[in-house]
């Protein structure tokens, strides 16, 4: 389950960027974004998803449930 960043809440502080073990985070258009295909939820690297733990704004780095595989089958 990859994480995503809710752009409207991101302060663009860049705290998350260097912490990602998969280099999945980068700046795009004034806010930071996670590349879904690279994110592994930090499993195997750290106990906590690093972007979530470092982000100053609660509920900004969240599980991206909009991906098709999380949608209930029609």
């Amino acid at each position: 389950m990859p994480f995503k960043i809710i752009a409207s809440q991101c302060t663009s502080c860049s705290a998350c960027e260097p912490l990602c073990p998969n280099v999945a985070i980068s700046e795009k258009g004034g806010s930071f974004v996670i590349e879904a295909t690279k994110c592994t939820e930090c499993i195997g690297h750290f106990d906590e998803p690093q972007c979530v733990a470092a982000c100053p704004v609660d509920n900004t780095c969240v599980i991206d449930t909009s991906l098709p595989r999380y949608q209930a089958p029609a």
Partner: protein, 519 residues
Amino acid sequence: MSAMVGSGGYAKAAPDNGTMMQSAAEHKGCRTAAKTAHAGCGSRTSQGDLPSEIWEKVKKHPCYSEEAHHHYARMHVAVAPACNIQCNYCNRKYDCANESRPGVVSEKLTPEQAVRKVLVVATAIPQMTVLGIAGPGDALANPAKTFKTFELVAKAAPDIKLCLSTNGLALPDHIDTIVRSRIDHVTITINAIDPEIGAKIYPWIFFSHKRYTGIDAARILTDRQLQGLEMLSERGILCKVNSVMIPHINDQHLVEVNKAVKARGAFLHNIMPLISAPEHGTVFGLNGQRGPSAQELKTLQDACEGKMNMMRHCRQCRADAVGLIGEDRSAEFSTDQIMKMGVKYDLATRKAYQDRVEDERAVSVVALQQELTQFAAETSAIKVLVAVATKGAGLINEHFGHAKEFQVYELSTSGAKFIGHRRVDVYCQDGYGEEDRLSTIIRGIHDCHAVFVAKIGGCPKSNLIKAGIEPVDQYAHEFIEKSTIVWFRSYLDKVKSGDVQHEERGDAAIRQGALISAA
């Protein structure tokens, strides 16, 4: 996802950023003789009994020397946006509240843009002697950008002193780099040394790949701060400690903090008032935590002073502040502007200018000494506070209606002692003075007996008199300390002759507004 538990709102405790606290432990060992002006040596022109190598380091540093802050300018570059802790007085939408005020947003720069800006400013303002990195997050939570900036500036402008502010969490990891980067001064924001108290100020920290909350977080932070302070002192780097005074949370405790940082070699302690209003969106702002009054702040600073010199002139500047402390010319040096402006960085011109400043400083000291000798035989228990409108250079040279702040001096037969500044709304805007703003100004200097200005209009004058504050404009463009002492002598004479009844003036309010635009 347990990591999300415990992060309270998004008022963050950004340790380094500025809003928190600035407790500057002033120089140890600086005791000015009672008859020669202020007890705080950080604040004098004279070396006092400071060791020469320390005096050399501080005499042109506006943050470390109260006296220098009238003459020399500093700038901050906002290259460090990330932070590794959360403070309850900080809202991460804005800059860190440890070094800057809440509610301020700085324009973020890359290290390359920052160097360009430093050179442009050094060209335009030859008395700019200090470059600081104080956020907008924590300088050491962005080590690559911070040290890259210092390295580039040291190469391009070798006469500029480098200074760094941090919440201290990452400090022990970067000591060698700090020494190697030729950084002169480090400011650490320490609001508590007791984790129980720290936990009320810091909801969480991010440390070695984990988020810690509560007492665990506060304990790690305190340990790292004190360890970092010790390591820097051992290596001879000057450290100032900032503390934010938060009534009923750490106000009493800051006396302990003062002792602890002094014992570990801090050179100056700067206790700053919490600035807190609901519109800042911080935890403290939203839960109604108030800041201290002017008198509460002064009482605490006085209590710590016997033990260590206190810094009282900190303006809680923004992370991209430019200019003399108390003024802010950051708007003139936006990124667009600096790309267009010319760079003529010239060491010789800068040195010549600074030599002239040194001469001016010396003249003002002589003038004061002469005045003080008149007091030699006199002692009186009376102490009064006065407010002064100044644009710098140690002169009474600002109009009442244009003042963005007033400097407050405590007058006694020992001399004139700078005790702080009061930020106000400029009374005169677009040529009009407004009743509302006048009453805020009066509340802000309510503890003062007189206000010294270069000029003042008839209406504010009569309102000030009604409020019991004497407007004094006959010393326009003269030295602050000398003039206030002359005035004080005649005040004492009037008390003696019975013309005037000496009365205490009560307390004053510290302005809590959003302070978004003004310096």
